[in-house]
């Protein structure tokens, strides 16, 4: 078993990082530029982001590979660079953290909608994820992080891809849910229970949710997931829906709120906690303090 999974099994709460895109922009990602291409053109930028989150106390740091599937890179005409971009993405983080944190190989949605609703071909999609994941594995990634998925079938293809190129690699699979009157569903209409069951039977080691509509909903999601799955859970919440304060938009959930509410997530049985849109290294630092005081 990977030491990542052993840590979780031993009851350790792991802290992952926060938002990536907004920091990349702050540090120099130009408008219209492919965020993952920075891994090759200006590796110092993703390196600085990894360092900020590492210094904030994260145990798990994601690679800048969210949109580095060939399907997504093709939008920038960069699909022929899939391998290089993913290898560099993982190596950059690895160089920053050494053996002191785990590298999360981020694998986001393909941007395509699967047939028959869209034109995404499932075989092609799985092969694409295999290419991406194989590259991350070759660069010694610690965990494959399938994230922000809104279609269970697509998440399953990514999961299958991970299992076929690296059967022993730890895989974390995260869906993004909406709160509906009927309970939590993805936008594609997959219920939370169906997602949990599907991901578990396809071999996910850890399941959970990222992004979303703030911490309170995420706590509910964690409680619901615990009822239907015995797998370890991960929750990486965004900082709520932005609100208008005197003409400025701010994310309502400050680092202090994260520091306070993270205990509810842990009480709900969550093993990996972290942030998403609207969170910063300060958020991660605040959660670290809470975790260290428990």
């Amino acid at each position: 078993m990977s030491s990542f999974l052993e840590d979780i099994k031993s009851g350790k709460i792991l802290l992952s990082d926060g938002a990536m895109g907004s920091l990349l922009m702050e540090k120099g990602l130009k408008h219209g530029e492919c965020p993952e291409h920075l891994n090759l053109t200006q590796p110092e930028i993703p390196e600085e982001v990894a360092r900020l989150y590492f210094d904030a106390g994260a145990d798990v740091i994601q690679s800048n590979t969210f949109g580095a599937s060939p399907m997504k890179l093709a939008e920038y005409g960069l699909d022929d660079k899939t391998e290089e971009i993913n290898v560099a993405g993982v190596s950059i983080v690895k160089n920053v953290v050494g053996n002191n944190a785990y590298v999360y190989g981020s694998c986001g949605p393909s941007g395509k909608i699967l047939q028959p609703f869209g034109d995404g071909d499932p075989d092609e999609m799985q092969r694409g994820f295999e290419t991406q994941i194989q590259a991350m594995v070759s660069a010694n990634v610690d965990v494959i992080f399938i994230e922000t998925m809104t279609d269970l079938n697509e998440a399953l293809l990514a999961l299958k891809a991970a299992k076929s190129v690296a059967p022993d690699m730890a895989v974390v699979a995260c869906m993004t849910y909406e709160a509906t009157p009927k309970g939590f569903y993805t936008i594609m209409g997959n219920s939370l229970a169906d997602c949990a069951a599907g991901l578990e039977s396809a071999g996910a080691d850890v399941i959970g949710s990222n992004c979303g509509n703030g911490l309170d909903k995420m706590i509910e999601i964690a409680i619901e997931l615990k009822k239907v799955s015995h797998l370890p859970l991960v929750i990486q919440s965004n900082a709520g829906l932005p609100q208008n304060q005197d003409g400025h938009l701010v994310y309502p959930e400050t680092p202090d709120i994260f520091a306070e509410k993270v205990t509810d997530l842990i009480d709900a049985g969550v093993s990996i906690v972290g942030g998403c849109c609207g969170t910063t290294p300060e958020t991660i630092k605040a959660i670290r303090q809470t975790l260290d005081s428990i």
Binding site: H31, E75, F117
Partner: protein, 213 residues
Amino acid sequence: MMELLAQISEQLQKGEDETVLELTKKALAENLSPNDILNKGLIAGMTVVGEKFRDFEIFLPDVLLSAKAMTAAVDHLKPLLIQRDLPNIGKIVIGTVQGDLHDIGKNLVGIMLKGIGVEVIDLGKDVPPEKFVDTAVKEEAGLIGMSALLTTSTPMMKKVIEILHERGLNKSIKTIVGGAPLSAAYASDLGADDYASDAADAVERVTKILEEK
């Protein structure tokens, strides 16, 4: 006659593309006007789909199937619609504003608008302000739709609106904005002509603006 239109609407809601096309052809054979088929059949059905999606009664796959059925029928109707019969098929330029890479909501609005027969020019994400305006001018689109998820990128919406004013285009090209960080009040602070709270609302408001033009 009206029954046929109601059937078109109903089958469209079910996403039965072949049936919708068949019924559309049948309606034409029975001398119903293409305009009525579009408005009282297809668009009426798509409006219900939009509302059900907003209320979580159905999910995105259902919307996509209905949109597909709509597209097939509209493609068949298009050559038959003479210019004066086209009041509802307007043109909109959409995109996620500069500084923002989140495009799920914008894509959804695009799908739904195409579904009701609006011509959608999608500029993608991280779209520079000038590009919105230049494209609208070049394509003679009367409406620009802007989306954002990040708080930090909403000022770019204001920038687009400012450019329209500077170039004296603000009367001929209207703006509508949407996205998680926005509210009607904030949209009006930005100077936008309209605000949509979700994809279904966007469809309703865009249709209204394009009808008025």
